[in-house]
């Protein structure tokens, strides 16, 4: 009994540092997030309970629907490229016997750069006059685009930056998964007369199905939180064409001083992302078994 108590005290002594940090910066903010969205507060007086008012404020805002539409479109477009290209790249890389180390290094390089650096670099690339993209188009003889300044291309421009700096993660994870596929499966498929694409379809994809699903969920959750791209590239413009949910949340809190509305929007985002997180959790459990 005595010894048990001592053991527990020692254990909690070891735990206390981490416990304090988790309590202050993970668990408490979680609770506070819920409180925040049902309160009105000016940080001087006691906060008052306002029921669903914050949610109504957010929903009635003309930017609300647009922000969700932008976020979903952004995520959809980012996945279209960001999910498929890394898988194809990994399959191709997996076949190469040369330059592997170089290719892996290079594909992961953008992931290592600070996102702010990448975004500011692309801001220059998008410059209608001196930017790389329009100059490259000019060399081929195609008239330049206005990229970030036009509602047609602004969101896509953000997708390009975000995809460029994140492709490497998926590629290397898929590559690791591909290397664990037993080679007799391919040999058997080959004996059955399966061609290259059939082998990919019937062996590679089923064998990597779980990791693909896990990554899909992770990517959805990550891309739906998009913030830095609109913050640094467009400031939400043109005509609110690139206001995302996370950016709108930031604006409520830090531009309009309305933390209640920001909190309500954050809570909505959380509920949506939770769906994917739960899927992810179930999939990764399944994967480990």
């Amino acid at each position: 009994m005595r010894r048990g108590l001592r053991r527990n005290l020692t254990a909690y002594g070891f735990l206390c540092g981490a416990l304090i940090c988790f309590a202050f910066f993970s668990w408490y903010p979680m609770v506070r997030e819920v409180l925040l969205s049902f309160q009105k507060t000016n940080f001087v007086d006691e906060p008052t309970w306002v029921g669903w008012d914050n949610f109504l404020t957010v929903i009635e805002d003309s930017a609300f629907a647009g922000a969700w539409l932008n976020t979903v479109t952004f995520t959809g477009l980012a996945l279209l490229v960001g999910f498929i290209v890394p898988f194809v790249a990994a399959i191709v890389l997996n076949e190469l016997r040369h330059a592997q180390a170089y290719l892996r290094f290079v594909v992961y390089l953008p992931v290592m750069l600070p996102p702010a650096v990448v975004v500011l670099l692309f801001k220059w690339f998008y410059d209608p006059g001196s930017g790389l993209f329009n100059q490259a188009l000019g060399v081929v003889g195609i008239p330049g685009l206005s990229w970030l300044d036009s509602t047609d291309t602004a969101l896509i421009s953000l997708v390009i930056v975000s995809t460029w700096m994140n492709l490497g993660t998926g590629t290397l994870i898929y590559l690791a998964a591909l290397q664990s596929i037993p080679s007799d499966l391919y040999e058997a498929a080959e004996l059955d007369g399966a061609g290259l694409f059939k082998r990919v379809w019937h062996v590679t994809i089923p064998q990597t199905r779980l990791i693909l699903m896990v990554m899909l969920m992770l990517q959805i959750v990550a891309t739906m939180q998009v913030f830095i791209e609109p913050y640094l590239l467009t400031g939400g413009g043109p005509e609110n064409g690139t206001v995302t949910v996370a950016y709108l949340m930031y604006q409520y809190a830090f531009n309009f001083g309305n933390f209640g509305a920001g909190g309500a929007l954050g809570l909505m985002l959380m509920l949506v992302l939770m769906v994917f997180s739960v899927f992810y959790l179930r999939l990764s459990r399944e994967e480990q078994n």
Binding site: R7, T10, A18, F22, F24, W124, Y186, Q225, S277
Partner: protein, 326 residues
């Protein structure tokens, strides 16, 4: 019966054919992969045919050029862009090589933005976060794995549950917490603690460390206990020395996380004197000539690229460990 074998002949080993990439060969020699011969979608036989080889080399060259164009060229354009004068930058068609190699712009960026200060700040934030993460998360994972206190499972569950919370959605309450710490009432804004303490609250690190500690044989610990070693002594002289690989992964990830982070330091370190390099450059970017800004971006990229060069193995290990978390 004629000896017609339908079994494919064992694929000649790649090393023997000189086709194996050095990294893979090293891996196999060190026994990290199974002894089974590796192959992908393409049949090894195809590669021995003339057509197969031509195709292989075409694909290889295509992949190498396109990867270089997509991922290296933008960086080249950034580095050389910094060396061009604003007039040269605006020129159409652009110059592929800068007309003059004047590295003075890098010095100008360094002085104008006070990059030395931003870099020192970032080193302070990342270094402190690294030390605190190692101290707190390692001891927590050790307690949960080896000392197994009452409610340990619940604590672990709560820590892992934080993996399900997207960081962006608790941004506002976390900011308010840093602004006025509950109970204590401290204002952590503009202090390194605002970066350090949240960096420790990382469920993924606890998960990685605990899983590794779980794999350390009990007998090793029990033998030390019989010898009368204290729990701290056991952690220090038995657990830590065998945990180097995972400590490496956690260290590198914790430093990179802080180094790359943008929105959190943007909120909690509003003083220009205290800004991290990313936030500092971004906040001043609008007032700078393009070439000076580019030089600043290059300087901000160098540390991460150097770190990547040196710690590539740990970084990649952390990446694949990351895909299996849950």
């Amino acid at each position: 019966m004629p000896n017609v074998t339908v079994e494919p002949s064992p694929p000649a080993t790649r090393a023997a054919r000189g086709l194996e990439s050095p990294s893979r060969a090293r891996k196999r020699r060190s026994g990290r992969t199974t002894t089974r011969e590796f192959r992908g979608v393409v049949s090894p036989h195809t590669l021995t045919t003339r057509r197969g080889r031509v195709l292989y080399w075409t694909v290889l060259i295509l992949v190498v050029t396109s990867f270089t164009a997509a991922f290296v060229f933008p960086l080249y354009w950034m580095i050389t862009g910094a060396l061009k004068s604003p007039e040269e930058l605006a020129q159409i068609p652009p110059t592929f090589f800068p007309t003059a190699f004047d590295f003075g712009v890098y010095a100008e960026a360094w002085e104008l933005l006070d990059l030395g200060l931003f870099l020192r700040n970032t080193v302070l934030y990342a270094g402190g976060a690294w030390l605190l993460t190692l101290a707190f998360d390692v001891s927590a994972a050790y307690a949960l794995s080896k000392l197994r206190p009452v409610l340990g499972k619940l604590v672990l569950g709560l820590m892992l549950a934080t993996l399900m919370i997207p960081p962006m959605v608790i941004l506002l309450p976390a900011y308010l917490t840093a602004k006025e710490l509950p109970i204590l009432g401290w204002d952590l804004l503009n202090t390194p603690w605002a970066i350090w303490l949240p960096a420790v609250a990382n469920g993924f690190f606890v998960f990685l460390l605990k899983r590794f500690f779980d794999s350390i044989p009990r007998e090793l610990i029990e033998a030390a206990q019989i010898d009368g070693a204290s729990p701290f002594r056991i952690l220090w002289s038995i657990v830590l020395p065998v945990s180097r690989p995972i400590l490496g992964v956690v260290s590198i990830l914790s430093v990179i996380n802080v180094w790359k982070d943008f929105i959190w330091p943007l909120l909690v370190l509003p003083d220009q004197e205290k800004m991290s390099i990313s936030v500092g450059i971004a906040s001043l970017s609008a007032q700078l000539p393009q070439n000076v800004l580019l030089a600043a971006l290059v300087i901000a990229s160098i540390p991460t690229i150097v770190v990547f060069f040196i710690f590539q193995r740990s970084i990649m290990a952390g990446l694949t460990a990351g895909s299996l978390k849950g």
